[in-house]
């Protein structure tokens, strides 16, 4: 196959590209310049796509003997990922930008470009497994459960998966690093980037403050009584316990948690942990790895990137997926993805819109 390997400059995408070459594919490396003003050097482990990262990707391509290009997708990324991220926070939700990037950039914008240029697939260093099942392509959790990224890939459709290659799905991270070393890839020792790639200093609150400004409003308890002030609902996420600047402790002395964020009234509602527990989660704008599953069927759902999956009865009607959990869980935030699994296999993804206690 002619494979377009997305190379971030990190060890995972470098080894993924190496494996694609070894598998006999005709591989071309591409580094995606996504930042509007990239820093020259990477500062520590956070963030991504500085010029140093582009350089690291280039050198990995040299070692592999493959062509290498840098594509500027910063406009698309700004509109589809960054602006969406800010808009979601402004709407009182907690977005997952990596999901949006996979959905709109890596397996859309990049894939479309690749197909016009004659490529058959986009290869990335994501940890997920693709197999051929009786019904079509199946996506399963990766062998390395700590690194498993099926959650952020859950939004991909059958058509997108037909053009995807995830060579690392069967490997542990430690094996991947060792392999990088064996192959002479200098990035073997490079630390993983984490948090949000476009917020290099890790200060999400500061980033949102600059984009949204300060919008003070009340922090209220479940009765509606104002018990504090906030500087912007974008500083909070459902389930959050720390950083609630409430002057007085709760009557019962127990910690309070963010229960709800209402952008309309600009109010953050807090309360005891029990009030956080939800039994039913609705998700809108569903996508399906294969075909829609109406159900009701029993499976597992995962509601945050490295969250524990929980068993639920899942049904799809109208425009929403509803999961009724066997056991309640705490801290489910609107805007995150509700990804459903049948064992290790991803069934679909939806954006969490509502929860019921």
């Amino acid at each position: 196959m002619r494979v377009l390997a997305a190379m971030s400059g990190g060890v995972d995408s470098a080894v993924a590209a190496a494996r694609a070459v070894e598998a006999g594919h005709d591989v071309t490396g591409v580094h995606l310049a996504l930042s509007k003003n990239p820093q020259s050097y990477r500062t520590g482990a956070r963030g991504c796509c500085s010029k140093e990262d582009a350089h690291d990707a280039r050198r990995a391509a040299d070692v592999l003997g493959i062509p290498f290009y840098v594509w500027d997708l910063s406009d698309e990324f700004a509109a589809d990922v960054v602006d969406d991220f800010v808009a979601e926070y402004a709407a009182g939700r907690t977005p997952n930008p990596c999901l949006r990037c996979n959905e709109k950039i890596k397996f859309a914008a990049v894939l479309q470009r690749g197909i016009t240029l004659g490529f058959d697939a986009v290869c990335t260093g994501h940890y997920a497994r693709l197999t051929s099942g009786p019904e079509g392509i199946e996506m399963h959790r990766a062998a390395d459960t700590d690194k498993d990224q099926s959650y952020v890939l859950g939004v991909l459709t059958q058509d997108q998966l037909a053009h995807a290659l995830f060579p690392l799905g069967d490997s542990l991270k430690s094996e991947v690093r060792a392999e990088a070393e064996r192959r002479g890839l200098a990035v073997a020792d490079k630390p993983d980037s984490h948090d949000i790639c476009f917020i290099a200093d890790g200060d999400t609150a500061g980033f949102l403050d600059r984009r949204l400004g300060s919008r003070p409003g009340p922090i209220a308890d479940t009765d509606g009584t104002t018990i504090g002030q906030h500087d912007g609902t974008h500083h909070y996420t459902v389930g959050q316990r720390k950083g609630l600047r409430i002057g007085t402790p709760a009557a019962d002395g127990r910690p309070r948690y963010v229960l709800d964020i209402s952008p309309v009234t600009n109010t953050v509602t807090v309360g005891p942990r029990e009030a956080l527990l939800v039994r039913e989660i609705s998700g809108i704008r569903p996508t399906w790895t294969d075909r829609p599953v109406v159900g009701p069927w029993r499976g597992q759902v995962q509601v945050r990137a490295h969250g524990e999956p929980v068993t639920a009865e899942i049904a799809y009607a109208g425009d929403r997926v509803v999961a009724r959990l066997d056991e309640p869980i705490a801290g489910v935030a609107a805007g995150q993805a509700l990804v459903s699994y049948r064992g290790s296999q991803v069934v679909g993804s939806a954006t969490i819109s509502e929860t019921v206690s």
Binding site: G65, W71, R113, L117
Partner: protein, 392 residues
Amino acid sequence: MAPVSRTYLDHAATTPLVAAAIEAMAAQWGTVGNPSSLHASGRAARRVMEESREQVAELLGARPAEVIFTSGGTEADNLAVKGAYGARARPQGRRRVVVSSTEHHAVLDPARWLGSSAGADVTEIGVDPVGRVDLDALSRIVDDRTAVVSILWANNEIGTVQPVPEIAEIAHRAGAWAHSDAVQAVGHLPVDFAASGLDLMTVTAHKLGGPVGVGALLARRDIGLEPVQHGGGQERDVRSGTLDVAGAAGFAAALAIAIASQAAERERLESLRAGLVTAVLAAAPDAVVHGPSDPDERLPGVLNVELPGCSADALLLLLDAAGIDCSTGSACTAGVAEPSHVLLALGRTERQAGSALRFSLGHTSSQADVDALAVALPEVLTRSRAFGGVVG
């Protein structure tokens, strides 16, 4: 990777070493001696350096004392622009620097830097749609507060040749110094320093079949440049540093061949260029050819074409895959292809400039190169247009 089967159409970026240059350099590599040393080994090296200097001077219509060897064209341009400004701004109240909007970055960037960091008043003169400098505008701008005027002899991206003697005259009427980066012109057009009227002229070896790493700034002896590089006082105290003796020998040897073959090469390249134009227009009848159409007003070996609906990212990848080396605009440090400032100065939009390719011919070019392009272009263009369709 695999240089053997590639079709190299990027001679304006750099061109293969000619055999005579390799021989001249190889003859020096086995020797030892710093040309600044006073002993016999040093004097032997010094002699090779001075013979190279004399040869370069003669070939370019200059005196040996007017040749300042540098590490290449960029250094020579920096020395000319910064050296002229440094010598004249404070002592003579001449703080204006005039360049064209289509200068190579090796002239543009030092000028802009002087503007932002050294208090220079920098003016970038516009050009007409085929890249010719507006001489009336130039006359109005160049005044008795102007330190230096710098205009490319021949543009590396679109090939436009400027009227250098007229420009030098405009500069001199106002007491300004005239500099021209002649890096692309030498070897393709007749270039005579003395006849040009210029005070300063940049040349470099690697555009002529000589090595990368050596060039020269020709400077009239009464031009007192402020040095950029200080140190041991070499090159008349204007440019300190130990020079590459082997490189200078290679430079001189390559220059000799380039000058001797210039007239014949001009005709040969012009004919190959016509073949490239035919190939491009056959595959893309809507292609836009940039620069003057009159061969007397442009370089014979440079062809810049705009391919509507295509994007540089696609063209680069596809031509590369087809074994063809050519230029798709300049690249920033990260490697992202950026639209050419020269095309933007002609009035093209970013999108138009982003669909342009530069093919450039040189001493190893042949009809086979033209044929290879003709074969590759149709599919490259079909896919590039499809790509252009999805990127919007």
